[in-house]
């Protein structure tokens, strides 16, 4: 288990921010991030460039980062680019490349006000609130998919894009110690029914309601950029809209939050004519296959944290539910 010591952190922050003194008021470990550890820090600074800042988030890489992860360093650079383009992302502040604080590379960013427990938060919303929130999300995603990355910065994301998505999914399937005929069949189906149009843009890679922060009924932040890559924009949209991420709010096709028509309208306003919406059902199947593979893999992961291990094993049992969903989705397209 990685530790973050208040004293070490205070000394490091004082030095890096040119403060006279730093007081760490609290450190609490947060859930979230597939292969990252995250802490929320309350600190007060005397002098230095963080003098008015009090709430920070520290994200540290784990010992075994997942393969598609772009790594802390690249995530830090990406957040800088996105912040400069006025995206709703946390402001990156400092980078600990050498792993001085936690033993692994880490980044410190400003905490955004909002909750990622999006579904719970929206349950109290009326239809107009939902509409506005859905439009916020569609606007941000449309804008992201339109973003032009300078060629000298493409190296940040090439890693994930070297293999085609279907090949990547086959590789993940082959890492499992048992066979999954439904996933095998679904991948074959996806290969045979691959849409002709292949467009590419910057994709978030884990764009779902759990990575969206909401405060006072509006979108305040998009977090967890570790799987950002160059890919088909419908990959993000399919992931966001897949039923498995709606947690029971099935009528709200846009992430369990709002109506798909509102999402499409705002996405199209930000990024007109970029995607063929008729291909969305295909990408929802891709998303469900992807999540099924992750769930099966999570079920096999080990950790010394007892509660976390229980969560992981229970997530493994979602695999068969997702296989059931995949069969339903493909049968619906067939009909």
């Amino acid at each position: 288990m990685h530790e973050l010591k208040a004293e070490t952190l205070a000394t490091w922050l004082t030095q890096k921010t040119n403060a006279i003194k730093t007081e760490i008021k609290s450190i609490s470990r947060l859930n979230g991030g597939a292969s990252m550890y995250t802490w929320e820090i309350a600190a007060s600074f005397e002098g230095g460039f963080l003098e008015r800042t009090s709430r920070l988030i520290l994200r540290s890489q784990s010992d075994t980062p997942l393969l598609p992860s772009i790594g802390i360093d690249n995530e830090f650079q990406l957040l800088k680019i996105l912040k400069s383009k006025k995206f709703k992302v946390p402001k990156p502040i400092l980078l600990d490349r050498c792993g001085f604080l936690t033993g692994n590379p880490a980044l410190i960013m400003q905490k955004i006000v909002g909750s990622s427990k999006c579904i719970g938060a929206v349950s109290a919303l009326n239809s107009l609130d939902r509409k506005r929130l859905t439009r916020d999300i569609g606007q941000q995603l449309g804008k992201l998919h339109k973003l032009e990355i300078p060629s000298n910065q493409w190296r940040l994301f090439k890693k994930a894009g070297e293999q085609s998505l279907i090949d990547r999914l086959y590789s993940q399937l082959d890492l499992l110690p048992y066979s999954l005929p439904v996933i095998e069949w679904a991948l074959r189906w996806l290969e045979k029914n691959r849409p002709a149009q292949q467009i590419q843009s910057l994709c978030h890679g884990d764009f779902r309601n759990g990575n969206l922060l909401v405060h006072r009924k509006r979108l305040t932040g998009i977090i967890d950029w570790e799987f950002t890559h160059i890919g088909n924009p419908l990959e993000d949209i399919g992931w966001f809209c897949a039923r498995c991420w709606r947690f029971g709010n099935d009528k709200e096709e846009a992430g369990g939050i709002g109506q798909l028509s509102d999402f499409i309208e705002s996405y199209e306003t930000a990024n007109p004519g970029n995607v063929n919406w008729l291909e969305l059902p295909y990408w929802k199947i891709v998303a469900t296959v992807q999540w099924a593979l992750i769930a099966h893999r999570q079920g096999l992961r080990d950790t010394s944290n007892r509660t976390r291990k229980l969560e992981l094993v229970l997530t493994g049992f979602k695999g068969v539910q997702l296989e059931h969903e995949i069969l339903k989705l493909i049968k619906t397209i067939k009909e």
Partner: protein, 114 residues
Amino acid sequence: MTDADQMSRLLEAAKSVLEEDIIPSLPSRKRLNALLVVKALSIALNTTYQMVRQGGKEPDKNNKALSNQIRSGVYDTSLNGEIIKILSQDVEERLEASTPDFKMHEKFSQYVAN
């Protein structure tokens, strides 16, 4: 009484103590973890119920052979044909064994480890 019968009784008893005696007196921050344990026990219990129904034997599966056939293209001309029935039956059995409540309402729950 078979081993599976005995296992069901053990899990039922443990689950009931947890749900009825322990959880109500837990502080809220511990309650979520305890509910995850209840979920885990329910899954284990459903699997043992299925084993009881099947006389204590796990169903014989040949998933590897089927997966190999699919990848080598044996079903390519009929991906939407008979294969769907075979796959559906396998999934139904596994759902019945682990999370039969999902079969009823087909809603995805929020606990995830990712």
